[in-house]
Amino acid sequence: MMKKEFVSVVKVGVLAVLVMCLLFVQSCKKSEPKDSTEGTGQQGGEVTKNSGGTIAPPAEKLVPLDIKLPRAMFVGTPKPARVPNLEKPLGKDRPPFLVPPGVTNISFGKPVTSTDPEPIIGDIEMITDGDKEAADGSYVEFGPMKQSVTLDLGAEYEIYAILFWHYHKEGLVYFDVVVQVADDPDFITNVNTLFNNDDDNSSGLGKGDDMHYVETNEGKLVDAKGVKGRYVRLHSNGNNANEYNHYIEVEVFGRAVK
């Protein structure tokens, strides 16, 4: 190639590159993120229609159930008890439970009655006093064999969850745990059984399919499915270590009936 011709190619080429540089000098600043709320880069493709964009905060949303857990009293996974139909340990924290706004603990300070009016250890009021620790002085021990406690919520509520701790200082398994809700203190009207792990109907409340579980500081949470009721009753029938029944705390989460 002739030198002259090469020079002309270079001249035109360099000139074009310079023009392009000048044109783009404005736009060569560091780019805004494509996925910013002002950007359009991440909002849908070429084919998908109306593929949305920035989501406005929802007006009312599902909220995690406000549960304050007590301190764990033993570290690690509890030793597996020789109990049939026993839940496996999660190996991680329980997920938050989503409930409608306005669902709170409606059992705090509410009156409690029991089939054993004179507990061996502790006072019956401790079951709804908000103290969920497993230390001495925080739990109530009832007599052996079948026992139950009944909470009077004082009015009818929509109940979404019932959370209770029998005794979580050790990894115990309580037997024949049955949780019921009813409209009357005698549990005759509108009785709903929400949980039942009595696998041989020894409590006389019917055979239940729910699994046995190991007590931990997370307590046992039962889905109440928004059932309406005023009275909550929890049955038990000793545990895998002894015949006694224990309660540290019972929390009922719900909201007033609209």
């Binding site: 190639m1 011709e5 090469f6 190619v9 270079v10 035109v12 080429g13 074009a16 044109l23 783009f24 736009s27 060569c28 560091k30 780019s31 805004e32 993120p33 494509k34 996925d35 359009t40 880069g41 991440q42 909002q43 849908g44 493709g45 070429e46 084919v47 229609k49 109306n50 593929s51 949305g52 964009g53 920035t54 989501i55 406005a56 929802p58 007006a59 009312e60 949303k61 599902l62 839940e87 496996k88 340990p89 999660l90 190996g91 997920p95 938050p96 439970f97 989503l98 409930v99 409608p100 929509e158 979404y160 969850a161 699994m211 949470l221 889905d223 499915k225 928004g226 059932v227 309406k228």
Partner: protein, 532 residues
């Protein structure tokens, strides 16, 4: 080895490099919404053996029909059995073919320029990225180049077979994507400009010599037959042919309406020359643009360069400039649309390198230029690697556009875990609720589930599914469905399905919900499995 043989061997080596860049980990990047939509459309063809062209959506039918080949070869006849490999191998194939087809211009651009063009096509980050993308663009670029390559071969040989081949590629272009008309217009304008710029006597004789009438007719008939075959779903839906014309009304209208993809005129050029997002790497294919400028300058300033057909070079130069200008002027822009003119730039770039190398006689200067060009090629290859294997779904990658995040994989994995614990397995009822149908590509990833409700809004007339995936914006309506409408005692407690916030795309959050009962059951299975 002779230089001609070397050329073929080198193009073959470059082609293998192109395959190596494109083939690994085709399932690695989440499917884009558009890819998933196309795969779904292909599923209809695969299972029902029917395809009806929709003038409102989805572009041309060629992608779906060509995907039948890998599907049949893999023995797949159900949509749910498809894999990312089965569908993405189609654009990979046409991308590799595009590299190989550079040889069509070996005596037009010169061997050296063709090797460089093949190399740049093989390693350009944009080309590699969208070669692994189940959309029409790579097919369109390949077919467009087929027209140019076969057209050039026809002008060299005047053999009717090349005219027919050119016509077939023209038809395939039309059967691929509506934007083919931009390439048609650009090619025609470029051809006219090349003829006009020739001296008057040459112009008249060239017009006469350009194409024999019967060859022109043969090419046109081939194009029409191929296009009609695809659009009529192989003669089962004649209305599809008319729809392929009518579609332009839809697309012209949409181009001005859809604000989501409106970008400034320099959008493509800026993306090619320089882009950086957040703290991500600087991306640049400026070397291709700069070399193309030199190729363009050579085409405009010289009558002939050794080994280079000046008419062809000018044609490519005009074609590239017209394509670049038209695509830049159209406000509706998506990054893959630039591949058409980027390939023109690559062809010009090949010639540009040849011109630069040829023009320098000093050995040291030539060596230095070659070193710089080699470094540029390595840089392109490195970026191609980053774009496809490191930043493949990262919005700091300029080619990642409206792309789902890797959270999609986590979401689907979670649903799989849950279904394994559900008594109905893949028949488990799932609701996916996203306004405007903004749930793609989830239908692809949940294609093995038979009972998925794809909803734009919360349906209060059906029972709530045990597993729900929904846009954050529908949560208030969902709350009403879960906790207000069911009678007391039937309001299942739900827990979050996903452990962390999950994003379909940046800024588009999806929330998952699962009944506590199912969560407990699933967790028991996982714990039992872990114990074993």
């Amino acid at each position: 080895m002779k230089w001609a043989q070397k050329c073929y061997v080198l193009v073959l080596v470059v082609t293998i490099a192109g395959i190596a860049f494109r083939l690994p980990g085709l399932a690695k990047r989440p499917m884009h919404g558009d890819e998933a939509v196309h795969a779904y459309k292909f599923g209809e063809l695969l299972e029902g053996n029917t395809y009806r062209y929709d003038p409102d959506e989805y572009h041309g039918p060629s992608l779906a029909y060509f995907t039948l080949i890998p599907a049949r070869l893999s023995g797949i006849d159900k949509y749910k059995d498809l894999t990312e490999f089965t569908v993405r191998i189609v654009p990979v194939f046409f991308a590799v073919l595009l590299v190989l087809m550079s040889l069509l211009l070996v005596d037009g651009l010169g061997r050296f320029a063709v090797i460089i063009a093949a190399l740049l096509t093989a390693i350009s980050p944009a080309f590699v990225f969208y070669s692994r993308y189940y959309i029409q663009e790579m097919l369109l670029v390949c077919f467009t180049f087929g027209v140019i390559g076969c057209g050039y071969r026809y002008f060299r040989s005047r053999k009717i077979l090349w005219a027919i081949s050119s016509g077939i590629f023209l038809g395939l272009m039309h059967a691929t994507k509506e934007t083919c008309i931009i390439a048609y217009g650009s090619m025609l304008s470029a051809l006219i400009l090349v003829l006009i710029l020739q001296p008057k006597q040459e112009f008249i004789s060239n017009i006469k010599k350009t194409m024999k009438t019967r060859h022109l007719i043969a090419a046109m008939v081939s194009a029409i037959i191929v296009s009609a075959m695809f659009y009529s779903s192989f003669f089962t839906n004649p209305g599809g042919v008319w729809d392929s014309i009518r579609t332009y009304l839809v697309y012209f209208h949409r181009a001005g309406q859809n604000q989501l993809h409106i970008h400034r005129w320099y959008y493509y050029l800026k993306m090619l020359i320089y882009s950086q997002y957040y703290d991500g790497p600087i991306w640049s294919e400026a070397i291709i643009v700069v070399l193309a400028v030199f190729g363009f300058a050579a085409a405009m300033t010289r009558k002939s360069i050794a080994d280079v057909n000046s008419g062809l070079l000018r044609f490519i130069a005009f074609y590239t400039v017209i394509m670049t200008v038209v695509y830049s002027v159209i406000p509706y822009k998506t990054p893959w649309c630039m591949l058409g003119f980027l390939h023109g730039m690559i062809l010009l770039g090949g010639a540009g390198v040849w011109v630069i190398i040829k023009s320098v006689s000093n050995v040291w200067v030539r060596g230095l230029i070659q070193l710089v060009l080699a470094a540029g090629a390595v840089h392109l290859g490195w970026q191609a690697y980053l774009a496809n294997y490191i930043y493949y779904a990262d919005s700091r990658n300029p080619y990642v556009y409206a792309h789902p995040t890797n959270d999609v994989f986590t979401m689907v994995q979670r649903v799989d875990e849950i279904s394994a614990a559900h008594r109905e397995g893949h028949n488990m009822h799932i609701e996916v609720i996203c306004p405007g149908g903004d749930y793609w590509p989830l239908p692809w990833y949940l294609r093995r589930y038979d009972s998925v409700g794809w909803l734009n809004e919360v349906d209060e007339n059906t029972p709530a599914a045990p597993v729900i995936i929904a846009s954050a914006s529908v949560e208030p309506a969902l709350l009403r469905k879960l906790y207000q409408l069911p009678p007391p005692g039937e309001r299942n407690l739900y827990v979050p399905l996903f452990d962390t916030k999950s994003w379909l795309r940046p800024d588009v959050e999806l929330r998952g919900y699962i009944t506590k009962e199912l969560w407990d059951s699933c967790q028991q299975q996982i714990s039992t499995r872990n114990e074993k």
